[in-house]
């Protein structure tokens, strides 16, 4: 039995077909475009306060995730119950939440509240803080400035 490796023949290689690869790339790009353009409202993580009951997918008779800024002076914590008012684009919505929100929850910060609107109040079962993309050093000057221009 001869197991000597054979010389590679110089026969022409079969031509690589480019069309399937082009179709696959086009299908992938098309799929991403469909997701990006047509499914946007389904993929959006939240409705803004001013869209509740107005925008498609933000009907106030269903469970919602609502985003808005916590109004200054509205935060109250009593007997494990947290209530505050959140606003966006001049529209406000009172929020009741059983428990204490985690993260860096505070006044004048954007939050996303999960829950249902009952009698004009969002009864939340979860509160998340939506942090901005700004990173500033913590120092006395800035804290003074922040106190002077809170929520502005």
């Amino acid at each position: 039995m001869d197991l000597t490796p054979r010389e590679v023949s110089e026969a022409p290689r079969p031509r690589r077909r480019i069309l399937p690869a082009v179709v696959a790339v086009l299908a992938a790009v098309g799929g991403l475009a469909v997701v990006a353009v047509f499914l946007t409202s389904s993929i959006d993580y939240y409705c803004n306060v001013d869209e509740v009951g107005v925008r498609d997918g933000c009907a106030d008779d269903q469970r919602l995730r609502v985003q808005g800024n916590v109004d200054e002076g509205s935060l109250q914590s009593r007997a494990g119950q947290t209530s505050f008012v959140m606003s966006f684009n001049g529209v406000s919505l009172p929020v009741d939440y059983e428990g204490e929100p985690g993260g860096v929850f505070q006044e004048c910060i954007p939050v996303v509240a999960h829950g249902r609107v009952v009698d004009g109040i969002l009864v939340a079962t979860r509160i998340e803080v939506k942090h901005s993309n700004e990173y500033k050093a913590e120092n006395a000057d800035r804290l003074d400035q922040a106190e002077k221009s809170a929520c502005s």
Partner: protein, 247 residues
């Protein structure tokens, strides 16, 4: 390079630089940079989270480019395929670190470890895609066939990266928009924070290069070992055959 070692003077320099800059990043992140005015000390997670995400992107783009070269040269040499595989492995490692550090930061800042928002979901999808890519590479088959299959996946999977990066712009997300590579070109980080962040990017880039070079060389040695093993098996078979003929 000696057998049993994948190191060279170049990799040793890269490794030493990576160690040095990583040391600086650790010291700066924990002891020199200030706490954030809102997040407090949890901002320090950013110095690992953001660079690992960027380097994971870099790794997957490297995988796609190497796969492109591999396809263009019709897999005549497996060098590009080995680079593609090594880079994807390191990319998956960095992406896992991104997900873990992001989750820890999310708990401290958002108040939750995880949410199925567009950025987190697309990032997880990208991670799973490349785990799948690595699984395909592990299918025991001819190396050229492995290179063909994995190249196609790599060239398609890289298209997910823009979707992940711009997910916070395309859709409403719990995750904040980019502070550095954003669409309006503004940098929203204080000076020393930004410097430490970029130091982290440099450190992780060097670590990435070091790991990929070593992993690629290790794969080459592994492939060589298979060839040597095959040669030995053929020699043994010949010896058996000639012994049978003479008996």
């Amino acid at each position: 390079m000696t057998v049993g070692s994948t190191g060279t003077p170049t990799t040793r320099v890269i490794g030493a630089l990576a160690l040095l800059i990583t040391g600086w990043v650790v010291v700066s992140a924990f002891f020199i940079t200030p706490a954030d005015s809102v997040q407090g000390d949890s901002v320090r997670i950013m110095y690992a989270h953001v660079p690992t995400a960027w380097i994971a992107y870099l790794a997957f783009v490297t995988t796609a480019i190497a796969s492109g070269f591999s396809v263009a040269r019709r897999h005549r040499t497996l060098g590009f395929d080995r680079v593609a595989g090594a880079s994807a492995e390191v990319g998956v490692l960095f992406m896992a670190m991104t997900l873990i550090t992001g989750s820890l930061w999310g708990r401290l800042t958002w108040g939750t470890f995880w949410q199925w928002d567009p950025r987190l979901t697309t990032t997880l999808f990208l991670f799973v895609t490349y785990v799948g890519y690595l699984a395909v590479r592990r299918i025991d088959t001819d190396p050229r066939q492995r290179a063909s299959r994995s190249s196609v996946i790599a060239l398609l999977a890289v298209l997910e990266i823009p979707l992940v990066h711009f997910s916070v712009v395309l859709w409403r997300s719990l995750h904040q928009e980019a502070s550095v590579l954003n669409t309006d070109g503004d940098v929203r980080l204080d000076g020393l924070m930004l410097f430490t962040l970029f130091s982290g990017v440099v450190a992780f880039t060097l670590i990435f290069a070091w790991l990929v070079i070593h992993r690629q060389r290790l794969t080459t040695l592994s492939d060589l070992e298979r060839v040597v093993g095959l040669d030995a098996a053929i020699t043994a078979r010949r010896a058996e055959n000639s012994a049978g003929v003479t008996a």
